[in-house]
Amino acid sequence: MSSTLGKKLDFYVLKVGGIVVVILLLTTGIGLYLFLYPKEVTDVGYAPKQPIAYSHKLHAGDLQISCFYCHGNAEKLAAATIPPTQVCMNCHLVVQRENPEVKKIIDSYTQNKPIEWVRVHKLPDYVHFKHNVHIKAGISCFDCHGKIYEMEVVRQEKPLSMGWCLDCHRKETPLTKSPRVEDFFEKAVQDKHLYEKFKNNMKQYKGIHWVEEHERIGCSLDCSACHY
């Protein structure tokens, strides 16, 4: 076959065929996206098995350990970060040393080997989310992570999609009824004395500012607020 014919063929196949295929793919893609949105696409319900059967229900719910005891960076830095093994050892140096799950932590500590946690909440690389400013603005952990204190295994509760972010960023009225940090201590709320004590403690807690009303400061809708 002469090369000119080949080139002509290439042209038709590329230009005409290409356009048709692209349109087809786009429509199917968009259809699939809409059909599945948001559950499968956004990984709501993703609850991978973790290397250690760590129970947030036990630690955060029953024992009422503050989120920031372990994820202290969340209120100071952009990244909430998973605590170093050292933090676990603060208690488990003496507590539950015989528990087979706790043994894994002790092993990590003694062997200087990091625990390979499986990431549950992940934003794409081109999104820059900052935990600290959201907490400062009075957003509770549970707004985005769900009722962690009831979870034996952590699962993704919210879609963490851009639309979902903007739902909140776009709201004109203050979110006064948003579940806040104190909601986590349901029992404490019922016990008035304990609640006051906790609240006062939290006020003194370095770095966190107790937000009485849910103030909405600098709720930006700019693309460059997150994408850069």
Binding site: V21, I115, R119, S224, A225
Partner: protein
Amino acid sequence: MMKDQDKIYWKSFEELTQDPRYLELAQREFMEEDDGSDFFTLSRRKFLKLLGASVALATTACRRPVHKIFPYVRQPETLKPGVAQYYASTFALNNHSYGILVKTIEGRPIKIEGNPDHPLSLGSASTFAQASILELYDPDRKRKPTIGNKSVSWDEWNKEIISLLKEGGNKQIRLLTESITSPTLRSTIEKFIKKFPNTKWYEYEPISQETARQSYQHAFGRPNIPKFHLEKADILLSINADILGGRLDSNALLRQWANKRKITSPKDTLNRLYVAESYFSLTGSNADHRLALKPSELLLFSLQLAKLLVYRFNLSTDSNIRSLLKSVPDENSSSYKKEFLGALAHDLSKNRGKSLVLVGEQESLELQIVGHFINSLLQSYGTTIDTKISTASFNNGFNSLKSLTQEMEQGKVDILITVGGNIAYQTDSKINDLFKKIPHHIRLSLYNDETTALSHYAAPLSHDLESWGDSQPETGMISLIQPTIQPLHDSRSLGEVLMSWIHEEGWLTELKTYWKNHIYSKQPRMASFEAFWEAALHNGVVFEKVTGSHSFTFKPEALHNVMKNLDPRFRGDDTRIELQLHPSYTVYDGRFANIGSLQELPDPVTKVTWDNVASLSPNTAQKLGVKQGDIIEIENKIKLPIFLQPGLADGVITTSLGYGRSKGGEVGIGVGSTVFALGSQFQHAIRVKKLSGHHKIATTQAHHSMEGRPIVLEAPLEEYKHTPDFPKHKTHTPELFSMYEEYPYPGHKWGMAIDLTSCVGCSGCVVACDVENNIPSVGKAQVLKGREMQWMRLDRYYETSLEHDIKTVHQPMLCQHCDNAPCETVCPVAATTHSSEGINQMTYNRCVGTRYCANNCPYKVRRFNYFNFNNSIEYPQELGKNPDVTIRMRGVMEKCTFCIQRISEGKNAAKMRGEPVLDGSIKTACQEACPTEAIIFGDLNDPHSKVSKASKQSHGYHVLEELNVRPAITYLAKIRNPHPKLEKFKI
């Protein structure tokens, strides 16, 4: 090309002559024709294959990949994940060094900034210092010690070397290092010599201060080079000195110069810079008056100046000196040179004690001595020249190397140890033959370079960012080098290697001991050495009190010696071509040749990338019968392409060092040609032969043309004083209205002001932007197509209103963040939008690459990723990327973001503190790097911010104001300070 009354501004000769090829290229969207490569043409078979694959991909369900998180077991106390930490360190190159701050994120250095507490940096870092971060992560660095071709461990290597050094006590050992400014290392080398007494130590730098030291020895009886105070000088003369660019200590000099160059009201005064030079330097491009001379004419020029000062202005009554200068011929012709000399001598004599003459350190001994003589006439010593403090300088030039080469020739050297530098590349090829005579050549280097190839035992040196050290740039000041990362490869620093050779304790202990004994002991009021050490590490610099000044009484014998056998030199021979060499502004003496970003950084004057070129004036080209892109051969040794350069004297060819590397990394090999083959001098009389063939020069000067609109505005000081708002009279802006609704900007409104008066065009901002924003280099072939990715460019315009005196304006050009941005309205997918704070934001993940925005941008500042440039990075380059900035992929448009990541960080920090954003707390990368503080960034909504005040100045203007795009960047028009006799002020 643009016209402003009687002035013409132009970027290249092609533009000036309105070359049809240039006009065509300026009109076209793509600069080059498709070169016919089959990159995108698909065969039918291949197309069907791809089709199948994409269908298969589309039908496969996407499973979420499993991401793992590895928290620390024991977290270092000071580490904050994702938060930058800064460590004070020192950048040392040749005889110069200054303080830097190394920005690290999670233990990885990602950017270098100047140390504001270091007087030689004052917060800005040069192009070389900033690019040293790219050197650290260069994948071509040497990784393992080798014996012959075999990789070995350090222990084996050291064992071998030590047994070699020890066996047979009479072996002659020669140590050849690059310039070492570290006092500790110098003392350790002395220790090494004590242990192996048959050792002699040489230092070599191709760009050395050896002649300068000699000239001070001759003129004042003391070789030490004093420190200059440009901030005290009202009148400056630079004779090939390139004080504002080529010198490694330019950073501090630039700030000093620019502080006398700030205009805020018509009452202000400016300093005046005269430049006489034989190549077109950055300093020359910033001169108020510039005189282009041949290299051979410089000495006569300086003597004529001295004679004028002595005879016409009676600055010396010494009859001895008067009679010496009598024989100097006067400038008789009614030339520009005569006027220049007259005005200059007038200015200098009027400003005794407030003026300074600087002569290039590579110039001849005679010229430098005459420079010292003029300075002493002008009473500069003790005023603009420091008589107390001397800068670090060593005898490390070609002369000190001579005895070593002699010994090598005679076969007297048994063991040669070369450390750093690159002697095999930096000298002529004769030395390479000498290397073959040496039985044992031990080499320590960063790269597998030309010298390493000639060695028997080679080992990798650690980068300065990986090792401990110190450096003394001048008396009374010493700074520390601290590691900011573990060595990336199996490398060690010279200190570590020497310590293991002399069987002593570790290098850090040695460093601390030296500091304890020699520096701490002189410090008053420090509780303990540990406290002192911590403070020194934190500050990065320690000061010592310098007492007692040195006498700088000029010895007339020195001038006598200059005049003695000088006569033949007075007359330049018109028939021969003179070659003037100068260090490269981008790769220095070749040691940065493997850094793509620097190779691609346009030379600040010629705007040539990826090449060194033979620059010559159009007249010279005509005489030689060559045109742009032709190849010439110099002395049958060097082949260089012709580049037409305005502002050069006829009969001069200039080119830069540092190119034509044959080894030392993939990037630098084969770029340009080496001129070291001619020997160590910087000036030569040469024979030139034209060769056949044509060379494509990748110059960016004609890229992104703005088609003859008034873009740079300037005025002499007198005109500014007469009409402070002169820019408004130079542009004709009709009454502007917009069809779009105006944005409210309720919070911040970010903006920038760029002062063209103090911008010298050093390009530090471009490198800072490259490193900060993960901008890839694209290679020569892509630059030729106009596809360079730098977000920021420095436009250089020549102005020829006066025939003899070419003037230059440098203009940093970046995204103007227009309020009525033309790019925003044409984006079909809303990938580029306007933020509530006035930033023209670019959302990469939304961009589909139509490039409409780039077409519609009047400033030509948008860059398109034609290829996946970041895909080809290899370990360890990825470690050096800024994690706060997305790596862009192919098919995405990008541009300056006003360093949105820094704005975001600054705003969040303020939010966390519960305070408003303070003016000056957010700095863009370019602003931070600017040595002259020409770039000011801040909130225009805050009337008290620096940028608001600057933007409201009467000589501020917007580029292309008539388009009503309302840029957020205000340029402050360039104000020059010409001598009234040389340039008449017309109204």
